[in-house]
Amino acid sequence: MNAPRHPESFFRTEEGLGLWEHRGKVAAVGIGHSPTARRWDGRPETCVGALSLDALRRAMEDAGVDPANVDGLVMDPTTTTGAYWPRGRPAPEEVVNAFHATDNPLDGIAQLSSEWILGNMPELTDVGFAMYGDGCMARALCIAAQAVGDGLTHTCLVLKSWHNFEGRYYQGGSNAGSDLPGRSALSALWGAPVCYGTALQFAEYCRKYGKSHDMMAPFIENSRRNGLMFPEGYWAQHRPEEITPEDYQAARWIAKPANLFDNDLPIMMAAAYVLTTAERARDMRQEPVYILNHASSRTRPRSLTPTLDEVEEDTARSARKIYEGAGITAGDLSFENMYDGFALFHQFHLEGLGYRGVGFGEALDFYQTDISIHGPNPVLPSGGNIGCGRSRIWMHTDCMQQLQQRAGERQVTGVKPEVAVSGGPMPLGGNFLVWGATPD
């Protein structure tokens, strides 16, 4: 069985749709994370496929779900962090042969099909619904939430996995070549790194509002501190290093005003969740975390890169969709947990949400106040990608764990965890989930 790509009709992209029709009727009940690694070491048991099987099994175990009762799978077949399998290099036979292979020998190594997953998980005997959600976990979660609500699946696994190989980020492929195709040359000829668009927006933000890059230091410090309390994260597992304001301000530039610590570290990992109906969730091992809404942005910039005006208009629009479908306001948010990989756009999400009344141009001042997990205004208790590594997953897991009161050392203590929003990635084009400790 190979999954179709998702139809756009699954997403709530417009304002004025009212309350989500399945508000509080879909719940997350299981979380599974694989171990992390900086890069693949070439062994079968650490390839991205193996990490994915591990995460899926952990999620079902966490939920107390019998694999035979799982009937849905939503996943992203693309697993690259920016590293690609070298053209012409054969897939290692010992890895291919260690699994139930598909027609593509790089399946499970440099990509991931639903056929590969189901072929290697014989315990999943009843999966009748499978769908691809490209891009990141937020998109896959939106699809799964809608599918469970619509009755297309009653117990659905949601999977996002990442591979990383040797070599520097995005430095292979056409970037190492002598020529570019005409379409990509319109932007790629100038050699801007991936963080360039965000750095541009941040530069304009600082000019417009009179802010400076060093004002990001408390946010970065807070993110890494929280990330080091996330035992599933890369930095906690492999490099328990805090970032001080001095470290941050001394870091080398990538695309000034974006420095090394404003960029997330590409890693290998997989994470999976179990979504089910609110009725079934009551009988499972963990406290259900109810999905109150999902919302998406499909805004595209007018030209090559989004302007600050385009970003601010769209984050505000996304917030209105998020709140409308969930029937909540900014005042209902227990904490703030939006995407951060790159750090320099996190404030756009926060300001768009109007978290704690913070308006456009005010987030960097807000970062100078108590944004810790122990204060009244927690920002990114997950630590995000800056605190845990590049996966676009941490804020979802953290929202669930915070609302279940099982976030361990990261558990927020200055607020009662009742309602949270997670999502991203970029300010334009993101997908967002609203989580509730109760269905209403």
Binding site: A176, G182, L189, W190, G191, V194, R300
Partner: protein, 138 residues
Amino acid sequence: MKQGVVPDDLTRPFWEAANERRLVIQCCAACDRLQHPPGRRCHQCGSDEHIGWREVSGRATIYNYCVVHDTPVRVLQQDQPFNVAVVMLDEDPGIQMYSHLPGTPVDEVPVGAPVEVVFEATANGQFVPEWQVVEGAP
């Protein structure tokens, strides 16, 4: 020197004009609206029936910039650090183009200053639009 460019069907008019030292931008005649990067259809009305190309003046304004210290493009790494600016066309400030701003010192970019187009050869001889600050501009 920048990487070479191999024009494709969609962008060939843009690159051919650059070789003639002209700047053309895709335009929907029905909407009277420029769009860049080009597409198969008008980004506004969705039609592919009125898509064409319009020559523009080659005057623009610097909107924003960053200084690249760590480029993924191999042939540019020896030139680091360098400016990468966004300029916006005088005909339509919604239309952006990238520029290394030849002649402008690194990190001394006059945001808001007028610029004019020049054409620069790439590694395979294809010319590409670049932008220079207009002399005498503040």
